[in-house]
Each structure stands twice: as C-alpha cells, then as structure tokens.
C-alpha cells in the first residue's frame, strides 16, 4: 500500500531474511539455551517455563493446570500467567511456529505435508486450478495482464478452511486437561505434552553422556512423542490444548497480523493465485482479518510470488472499498 498502483512490480531484489530462516534461528536459540543450561547450570529451563530465575515465560496451559490442581492461588505464578496472556495478545499464536519444536518434528515425519508447504507452485497445481494461473506464470504474466485492455476484475479472497474462531476438538482436550488436573491434583497434560517430552529427551540424552544414567525415559519419551506426532497426524490442529488456549486468546490480537498489499496481490489483477492460502500451515487466508489461528509463521510472505504480504506491528486502518476509491481519486489530484 506504500507504493502507488501505477508503480510496476519491481523484480525481486535483495529480500530480507526469510521467515523460515528466522524461525529456525529462534527455535535453535531455545535449544541452545537448554543445552547451555545443561552444561553450565544457568537454570534457564525448558519451554515449560523459560527465563531468568523465576521470571519465566511460563506455559499457560501448565500454569492453568497447576491452578486447578493446587486448588489454590499463588501470586507469582499468576503474574507470570498474566504476562503470557498479554504477550499472546501482542503476538497471537506465534508460539506455535516460532518456539514449539513439534511443528518441526511433524514436518520431518510428514514429508508430503512439508513438500506441500514448501512448494506453493505445486500446491496451486495440485489444487486443480487452471494451469496458467500457477505461481510461476502468475509472475511472468502479471505485468502483461495489467497492460492488457481486457484486464480481469479483482478476485475476492479465497478464504481459508480455518478462518475465524475455531472451537474444535482441541478445546475439549484443554477442558479435559484442566478438569482432570483438578480431579487428580497434578498437571495431567504435562505428563504427555510433546513439547515437554522433547526437552525431556534432550535432558535424558545429556544425563546418559554426563552421568551414564540411562533410563526407560529415553525410550518412552520418544515413543510417546512419535505416537502423538506421527500416529495422530494432526496433533496441532486436533489435540493440542496449547494451540487451543492460544487461539482463544489471539482473538484479541491486533498486532503483527499479516497484511496483504492489495496493489501487489495478483488476485487484484484477476489472477486466480492462492499460493498464500495453499501454503499456509494453519489453513487461513492472510487477506482475511479475523484469523486467530494464524501463527505468524510467515510462510505466506515467503511464498507470495509478488511479495505482497508483510507482518506490520500495527495494521493500516482497514479501508473500505469506498475509502479506497476516494484515496485513489485524491492520489490522482496530487
């Protein structure tokens, strides 16, 4: 929206670092901090609660479970929970793609899914769209389409399968986690949480090398993780209570939402491109505003053939069609 509609699409120059690279670095940094903590005893902790001393980014599901299990109130953990809620309002479901190691593990085991996400072009082709609208041709044809007299009208957003608020099986698991924690007096889901178990496996391996302490955990943890990630293929969207809670909270998220530059988006030029929706791991459409399931992974921004998608801190005031026309007229006057 910063560029005027008349400006031709410049060929992709030096692009900033890809979102996938940035995410890899963040997840790597978390594992590095755990590794450093194991060697030099920093006490940083794992993703269950990671931070300096007792100021930690605490797992909101775990913390709610301890509230239920202890049937009591403690100020310090409650403040940590409030902080996590506020952060979630700021960054939405970013945990799922920027910190959680499960998504990496899932993609490792489900290659076809990875391929689908990795290659937007194939995704478009697989979806059975007219071949000429495949991403590659979109880019080549775009200027031509713009120039042609019979320029097709802008197409409406595709819409993703998981746009809008989703109350689904994950929320049952969340309710089950909290109720059973209350009933049995300990945080139940933490016992089988794949995030916790992944770090437990790392720590188990360290204990094996450092203290020669081999335990059944080294077999049991990976077995549970594999059951959850490989057998229950859609763990994140079907079972994960963390995603359930974060999606509820990120309804209130107004910042760092994907924003599509409609002047650059191929759909505005009548090209039926839906690389962004097809490549989205959360199956949402960045053109739509109400997408609490968006994990801000930036795959759509990485794949968009016209680089039209950004994640600005604050969204531009949403323009209605009338306002857009008005601003175009004003642009013309200037």
């Amino acid at each position: 929206m910063k560029t005027s509609p008349e400006q031709p699409i410049s060929p992709p120059q030096k692009r900033p670092m890809k979102f996938s690279t940035k995410r890899g670095l963040v997840v790597g940094a978390v594992f590095l901090s755990v590794a450093v903590g194991l060697v030099v005893r920093t006490g940083t902790g794992t993703l269950s609660a990671i931070g300096i001393m007792d100021i930690a980014l605490i797992c909101p599901v775990g913390q709610l479970e301890t509230l239920c299990a202890s049937r009591g109130f403690m100020l310090h953990p409650f403040l940590l929970l409030v902080a996590v809620v506020l952060i979630t309002m700021l960054v939405g479901k970013a945990f799922c793609s920027w910190l959680c190691p499960v998504s990496y593990l899932r993609r490792f085991f489900h290659r076809e899914e990875k391929d689908e996400v990795a290659d937007g072009n194939t995704a478009v082709a697989q979806a059975g769209v007219e071949p000429e609208t495949a991403a590659q041709t979109c880019v080549q044809q775009a200027p031509a389409v713009e120039q042609s007299a019979g320029c097709p009208a802008a197409l409406p957003p595709v819409g993703g399968k998981r746009d809008g608020l989703h109350l689904d099986s994950r929320h049952f698991v969340l309710a089950g986690a909290l109720i059973s924690s209350f009933a049995f007096g300990f945080p139940v889901f933490c016992l089988i949480c794949p995030v916790g178990l992944i770090f437990a496996t790392v720590i188990g391996l360290w204990n094996l090398f450092k203290f020669n302490a081999a335990g059944w955990g080294l077999l049991v943890f990976p077995a549970i993780i594999l059951l959850e990630v490989v057998v229950f293929r859609k763990w994140c969207t079907t079972f994960c209570p963390i995603a359930a809670l974060l999606s509820l909270l990120s309804r209130f998220n107004k910042t760092f939402k994907p924003e599509v530059d409609n002047t650059a988006c191929l759909r505005s030029k009548g090209v039926n491109c839906h690389v962004c929706v097809q490549s989205c791991p959360e199956k949402v459409d960045p053109h739509v505003r109400d997408i609490p399931e968006c994990s801000k992974c930036g795959v759509c921004a990485d794949r968009c053939p016209s680089h039209a998608i950004t994640f600005p801190l604050l969204a531009k005031a949403e323009k209605t069609e009338a306002e857009k026309v008005e601003s175009t007229i004003q642009d013309g006057k200037e």
Partner: protein
C-alpha cells in the same frame, strides 16, 4: 469458494474426536494416580508437602538445571507415573548446601521457602547391613562430614543419627564409602541413606 464469510461450526467429527481427547486426558490422570504408588522420592528443599508439590510442579527442569551440587535428578518410570520427570534428590551425586537456588528459580513456587534449622528434606537412616562401621568397624566418614552434629558414634563405634538435629542435607550419604569400599551387594543403598521423614517414622 467464498468461505471467509462462513462461520465455522463444530463438526460432528470434531465433537467425537474432542470427546475422545477429553476422556483420554482424564484417563491419563486416572492411570497416573492409579499406578502412581507411594513414591519414596526425596524432594528438593521446600517440596516436602508432597500433594502441594505434585500439584504445582510443571517439570520445567529449572531446579535440576541450576543445582550447583548436581544433587537434583528427575524421576524415572520406576518412581511411578506421577513422579515421572519430577525433580528428586540423588545424594550419590552431591549433597544439598541449602543454597536456595532451586527454590528461587521455581516459577510455580512448587518449592516453598525453606529454613534449614527448622525444616528438613528428610532424615538420615543408618543401614546396618551396608554400613562399614557395623560390618567391619572403624569408619566414621559420616560423623565427620555432618555439619549439624546430627550423627554420633555409639559405644561400639557405630553411627547413630539424632533425628531431631538432622535436616536431610545428604552429605553423610554422599561421603559414605560403602558402595566403593565394600563388594557390590546389588542394592543401590549406602551405609547411611536419607529418607522421607514419614517413612522413617513408620519403620
């Protein structure tokens, strides 16, 4: 094609899967409590109220990670599902100096403030089958190591623990040479072992 305006409602499938997930989570809790058994695991200082400790521990690993004495390890399957991955003290690797770091890092306050002169992690109990002083005589390593004058030698030169003075720091167990000086007996016990207070009372 225009799905963006369609409000998604819960499908029957989501309901069935969700109900299964709900019951599954409850089953995990029930099985863990059912097979939990009574663990003898010693908790880090401040975690002696077992119910409150289990309710609040997130298994986040911070206490184990920060312990400068290496004496915190994590529960294994043999400790029961409930204690799986929870921190427990292992005085074969080090003993507690009450540096309070584990209490300070605990984000959920599963470890509460601990006063080493009043509270106790557990109490040391001499195992006369393993203790070198009982079997061969002459060893008084634990008596020398105890900072709290909680162990003395009786008339036969055998160590006796003053339960009231012992706060369960574990230094006696840590220095006990029974495992290295005596032939391997197959037990994981040393000549003196810290146990939970209640268990000592029941013996």
């Amino acid at each position: 094609m225009d799905q963006s305006t369609k409000r998604p409602t819960m499908t029957r499938r989501a309901f069935v899967v969700g109900a299964a997930g709900f019951l599954g989570t409850c089953a995990v809790g029930g099985v863990a409590v059912g097979l939990g058994g009574e663990s003898a695991a010693l908790r880090p200082p401040g975690g002696q109220d077992e119910d409150a400790f289990l309710a609040n521990c997130l298994k986040c690993d911070k206490c184990r990670s920060i312990c400068p004495e290496n004496c915190i390890s994590t529960g294994v399957l043999e400790d029961g599902l409930l204690n799986y991955r929870t921190p427990k003290l292992d005085f074969h690797r080090g003993s507690c100096t009450f540096c309070d770091l584990c209490i300070q890092v605990c984000p959920t306050k599963a470890l509460s403030p601990f006063d080493k002169t009043v509270d106790a992690i557990g109490v040391a109990v001499v195992d006369s089958d393993e203790c070198i002083a009982f079997v061969h005589g002459g060893c008084q390593k634990c008596v020398e190591a105890c900072e709290y004058d909680a162990i003395y030698l009786d008339g036969n030169g055998c160590p006796v623990v003053k339960a009231d003075a012992c706060n369960g720091c574990g230094v006696c167990e840590y220095v006990c040479p029974s495992s290295s000086l005596r032939s391997y007996s197959g037990s994981n016990l040393r000549g003196i072992n810290v146990q939970r207070k209640s268990e000592e009372a029941s013996q």
